[in-house]
Each structure stands twice: as structure tokens, then as C-alpha cells.
């Protein structure tokens, strides 16, 4: 597949301010960065530095106060809300820190949510998500409910949900924060495999330095600004 741009996502001069009483708090100060296809990009930095805000803006769940946001050649800042929601549903996969699986749906149904919400017939959606679960080693757990799984397994279900509709951009918010080291490594290995697809970009927001070795590129943030963009020599090389 030939791509129009080597970058899956690009934000340019983005400012984000939040109201606070009569004042506004500026959390992003004119940030510009791009996310490449075929790579795992990590956005790291201390708590409150604005990395989750960048992820939210890039994924179309939060609008920027000013600046441009382009994802897969679509200007998200120009899309109407309905189009933005549809864009997220079809083009972006989400992985959350707390998994956010629906406890009363089984594993296969949870993984099929993006397909079901897009109008794929229930059985077809389950078949499609089932193949993804098989691929991620969760085949035997399809009929189980989230409470019957370990944290690592639940996050793998969340990965299956994020990949089931084959999105071009996968955004992950602290995907290993609630996991032990071994589970975290297993989850990151799966995300690393997903990032190897040249038609997909993976953006991981984290401050878990145990997983930095999976990154193709690390962007450091501090106080709402990018302070370092590239794979730092001081960090371990990608495994």
C-alpha cells in the first residue's frame, strides 16, 4: 500500500488551554511533532507534563485550543463531531491504562465492540475478533468474562479490541502501568508486533522505563513542551 505521507499523525504548533476558575491554564505550549508509520513512538515525561493531552488531541478525543492536527491526511480540527467520532471508530485503536473492558461482556464480545458499533453483524464481528484473540494467544479465553482473567490477559483483550478493526493508528495510555514486569513485557511484545506493520503507527504514552527498550523513537516532554525528540543514547537499544 502506498502512503500519501510517511507520517500517520502530525500536530503543528498546538496549544491547549484548560479553564480554571476565571483563569486558563496552558498545558501545551505550541507543540509540533509527527508520528511515523511502522514504528512504535513513545511519549514520555513526568506526570502533568502534557503527554496524555497530546495523546488525546492526536486521537481526536480532545480538541486543541489552536494549531493543526492531521491524522492520516485528515485535519481533525476541521472535522464535524459526527465525522470525528466515525474517524476514531474506523482509523484509531485505543488501549487504556485500566483496560476499560465491559465486565458483563465476554472476551470475544469486548474485542468486537469497534466492529459492532460500526455496523458489522454480531456473528461476523465475533468471528473477526476471535481471529485476533487467537493471534494474541487468547483463543481459549474467548467465552470468559474480564473478571476471570489476570491483568495481563485483560490488557491483551484490550489490544485485541484496539486491533480488531485493523486501525492505522493505535494509541496506548500507560498500557503497562497496572501490570507486573512479565505481563508488561508480554503486552509490549504484542504492541511491538503491531507496530511492525508498515501501514500502522503505534503511539505509547508511558513513564514506565521498563518498556523503553521497545520504542523505535522516544519523545520526551516537560512542562507542555517537547524537550527531546529521538531515541536517546542513554536508553537501552530496542530489543
Amino acid at each position: 500500500m502506498s502512503l500519501i505521507s510517511p507520517q500517520a499523525a502530525l500536530i503543528d504548533q498546538v496549544i491547549k488551554e484548560f479553564p480554571s476558575g476565571n483563569d486558563v491554564i496552558r498545558v501545551l505550549h505550541g507543540i509540533s511533532l509527527g508520528i511515523d508509520y511502522g514504528k512504535m513512538t513513545m511519549l514520555v515525561g513526568p506526570s502533568g507534563c502534557g503527554k496524555t493531552t497530546v495523546l488525546s488531541i492526536l486521537s481526536g478525543t480532545l480538541s486543541a485550543t489552536s494549531g493543526t492536527v492531521t491524522v492520516m491526511n485528515e485535519r481533525l480540527d476541521r472535522l464535524k463531531n459526527d465525522d470525528l467520532v466515525r474517524f476514531r471508530r474506523r482509523k484509531i485503536g485505543f488501549i487504556f491504562q485500566q483496560y476499560n473492558l465491559i465486565p458483563t461482556l465476554n472476551v470475544a464480545e469486548n474485542a468486537a465492540i469497534p466492529l459492532i458499533s460500526d455496523g458489522v453483524a454480531w456473528e461476523d464481528a465475533l468471528n473477526q475478533s476471535g481471529r485476533m484473540l487467537d493471534h494474541l494467544g487468547l483463543g481459549p479465553h474467548k467465552a470468559k468474562y474480564p473478571r476471570q482473567l489476570s491483568g495481563g490477559q485483560q490488557q491483551r483483550v484490550a489490544i485485541a479490541r484496539a486491533l480488531s478493526h485493523n486501525p492505522a493508528l493505535v494509541v496506548c495510555d500507560e498500557p503497562t502501568a497496572a501490570l507486573d514486569a512479565a505481563s508488561g513485557q508480554a503486552v509490549m511484545a504484542l504492541l511491538d508486533e503491531a507496530a511492525d506493520d508498515p501501514n500502522r503507527a503505534v503511539l505509547v504514552v508511558t513513564h514506565d522505563d521498563r518498556i523503553f527498550s521497545f520504542a523505535d523513537r522516544i519523545i520526551r516532554m516537560e512542562d507542555g513542551r517537547v524537550i527531546d525528540d529521538g531515541l536517546s543514547q542513554s536508553l537501552p537499544q530496542k530489543v
Partner: protein
């Protein structure tokens, strides 16, 4: 047109309704809480409303029992059928003289006390019907024909209330009772509609009935009238009033006056209104609170769904479908309970004739659905306003 495809069709809504129902039924405490709450309030509303309407009907039943007469003529001060204010015997002839009257017959209605041969005493309503035409008798026979009334001091008893005179379950046919020192024999049984006093009704020929009631100047309670063909009963009633100075009402008007009297002069509307209001309150409180709790507990999940790309419309449909499901099931249970209560209640004379009118069944359904959908809408507003980015904020 943007480059990432068209809007998903109705199947996306059906799929998300499936998700919504699984979300709800997977939380049995709230699911059964909602179903029970709506079911209980439906039962309370429809059952109490049915009893209320049944009680109101009791006020009209003495009039509705007499199907042959179109117009009732009475003393101008009379407000309802059980209010005895006799008019002069000449009133009958004056009414008959009014142009447009096909026939007019006397009808006496008074309270009396019967003594049985076993020594029991019971209060009854004594009705005297026209000797020749028998106009004033209910149409339904339970035992013997209406002709059984023609013998001297023969009486036909409302067979549904026999137990109020003889509690031993005996067959009353042939039983003699004493009314004001007169011997009266029960020769037939009829089926009257239940009246508000709840007393047994004893029917006799008019001449017999007025002969055994205590002496007073007038004993005629009502004149029952039929209009000539082509004459509107309402117009004839007005003409009778103008000519005779008596009050004349059509059957429907007098029946309505009977129910209106109960509404205006008893605490029944307030007590039943309170019970029905309580039912509505239970429905609103339980449904609104439980749905609000359900939505609040699932707020993060709804946030995640919004982030993933589930639209506000889909979420609205999800929550409304949850409300509709519990509304339908709860309503079905509640209205079924009312139907069972009324069905089995027919065996109890005090509930005889009570039924769930279509207006009550439909009105309860409408109320329940408005409450369920309204509660759902109020609960889901928070989700609709929810910023999907909240799911990233820990």
C-alpha cells in the same frame, strides 16, 4: 464527503442495543431492582385505579341495573340513586302527560331491615318495580324467572349477596323473611350490580313494596320513563323538568351523578389518588435512582465507548433500550399481577365487577414508559456531555 466511509446503518444500533442489554442483564441487582420497581409501581397504579373506578361505578350501578328506562324523574333535591326523597303519586301521572313520553312507571327504593326465621337480621335495599311491566328489575336471572315476583309478597333477591342474610350458605328460594311485621317469601334470584351501600337488594312488586314500608305521605322514589321513538331522551328530560318542576335526568346523566356524588362526598378519591401517586413516586424514584446509579457506575465504560467511536446517538439508544426492556418486563409483571388480583377477586363479593379498563391498562403503560424513558434520558445526559478524553485521566 470525508475519506473514511459512510455512516453505519441501523445494524450498528441493533448491535449496540445487544451490548446495552448484556450490560444491564449482567448486573442482576440493578436489572431485577428496576424490573421489580417498575412491576410494583405498575401493580400499585393499575390495581388501585381499577378498584377506584370500580368503587365509583358502584355509585352508578343502581341506575345502570335498570336498562329498560331512558329517563329517571325525581325530587329536585336528589343527587344520587340511594338518596330517597319520595315524590307524590300524582307525579307519575303528570310525567305520563308530558308530550313525548312513551311510558312512565313507578319505582320505589328504600332501606329496610329483614328478620329471618332463624332470628338473623340484615339491612337490605328494598326496591319496588312496576307491577305490570317489571321495569326496574335486573335482566339476569340466577334462579326462577322474573315472573316469580308476581305472587303476593313474593320477592326476588340479589343472589350475589345471599350470604349477607344467611351466612350458612343455604338456598334462599322458599325462605321467608319478615319486613316491618310483614311476611315476605324469596321466590327467585337475580344478579344485581354491586351498589355503594353494599347491602343486599330485595325486589318486589311496587304495590307490595310500598305496602310493607312504614307509613308516610309519599312512597314513590322515582318515575322511570321511555321516550317515544324519534324523541331525544335529553330533550324529553328537559321538557319533563319544565312541565312538572321535578328533576329529570337521562340514564347516563343520573349514573354520572351517582359517581360524581362519591367523588365529591367521600375520601375515596384522595386515598386512592394517594396510592396511585405513591405508585408513580415509587416508579420514578426506583427507576431514576437505579438507572442513574447504573450509568454512574458505567461512566468510565461509556467514556471508553465514546473514545472508541460509539456516537452519542448510539449511547442514547443503548440507555433508552435498557429502560424500555425493564419497562416492558416490569409493566408486564405489574399488569399481570393486577389482572390476577381482579380475576381471583371476582370470587369475593366486595370485588365483584371490578375490572381493569382499557384506559387504565393503556394509561399505566404510558406512564411507565414515560417514567422509564424519562429517567433514562435524565441519567444519560451526563454521558452525552461526557468528554471522551476522561478515559485517559486515570
Amino acid at each position: 464527503m470525508v475519506s473514511f466511509g459512510t455512516q453505519p446503518g441501523s445494524r450498528s444500533y441493533l448491535g449496540m442495543i445487544g451490548v446495552a442489554l448484556k450490560m444491564l442483564m449482567g448486573d442482576p441487582v440493578k436489572y431485577f431492582g428496576l424490573v421489580f420497581g417498575i412491576g410494583f409501581s405498575t401493580l400499585l397504579m393499575s390495581q388501585q385505579a381499577s378498584i377506584f373506578v370500580g368503587l365509583l361505578t358502584w355509585g352508578a350501578n343502581p341506575v345502570l341495573d335498570v336498562r329498560q328506562a331512558q329517563i329517571w324523574v325525581m325530587d329536585p333535591r336528589v343527587k344520587q340513586p340511594d338518596q330517597g326523597q319520595p315524590i307524590s303519586d300524582q307525579s307519575l301521572y303528570r310525567v305520563r302527560s308530558v308530550d313525548g313520553v312513551a311510558w312512565a312507571v313507578p319505582y320505589a327504593r328504600s332501606a329496610a331491615t329483614v328478620k329471618t326465621m332463624q332470628g338473623n337480621i340484615a339491612a337490605v335495599t328494598l326496591v319496588g318495580v312496576d307491577n305490570q311491566s317489571m321495569v326496574g328489575l335486573p335482566e339476569e336471572n340466577l334462579a326462577n324467572s322474573m315472573e316469580a315476583i308476581r305472587g303476593r309478597n313474593a320477592a326476588i333477591l340479589d343472589g350475589n349477596t345471599t350470604h349477607l342474610i344467611w351466612s350458612d350458605g343455604r338456598d334462599p328460594i322458599g325462605e321467608a323473611v319478615e319486613i316491618n311485621d310483614n311476611r315476605v317469601v324469596v321466590t327467585g334470584l337475580t344478579s344485581s350490580l354491586t351498589n355503594f351501600s353494599g347491602l343486599p337488594t330485595l325486589y318486589m312488586k311496587y304495590s307490595d313494596a310500598i305496602a310493607i314500608t312504614p307509613p308516610e305521605r309519599n312512597k314513590l322514589s322515582f318515575v322511570l320513563v321511555e321516550a317515544k321513538p324519534g324523541i331525544a331522551p335529553e330533550a324529553l328530560a328537559q321538557r319533563i323538568s319544565e312541565v312538572t318542576g321535578l328533576k329529570a335526568l337521562t340514564r347516563q346523566q343520573f349514573a354520572a351523578a351517582g359517581t360524581q356524588f362519591i367523588i365529591e362526598n367521600t375520601g375515596i378519591p384522595i386515598s386512592f389518588g394517594a396510592a396511585i401517586g405513591l405508585g408513580i413516586l415509587v416508579a420514578v424514584v426506583i427507576t431514576a435512582l437505579t438507572l442513574a446509579m447504573f450509568v454512574a457506575e458505567n461512566l468510565k465504560n461509556f467514556g471508553a465507548l465514546k473514545a472508541i467511536g460509539v456516537t452519542n446517538r448510539q449511547i442514547l439508544v443503548m440507555v433508552l433500550s435498557q429502560a424500555l426492556l425493564v419497562g416492558f418486563i416490569g409493566y408486564g409483571i405489574g399488569i399481570g399481577g393486577t389482572a390476577a388480583f381482579l380475576y381471583f377477586g371476582q370470587a369475593d363479593p366486595s370485588l365483584r365487577g371490578f375490572k381493569a379498563l382499557g384506559e387504565i391498562v393503556g394509561g399505566s403503560a404510558l406512564l411507565v414508559m414515560v417514567i422509564a424513558l424519562g429517567s433514562a434520558y435524565v441519567s444519560v445526559r451526563k454521558v452525552l456531555k461526557l468528554d471522551p478524553a476522561i478515559v485517559f485521566r486515570g
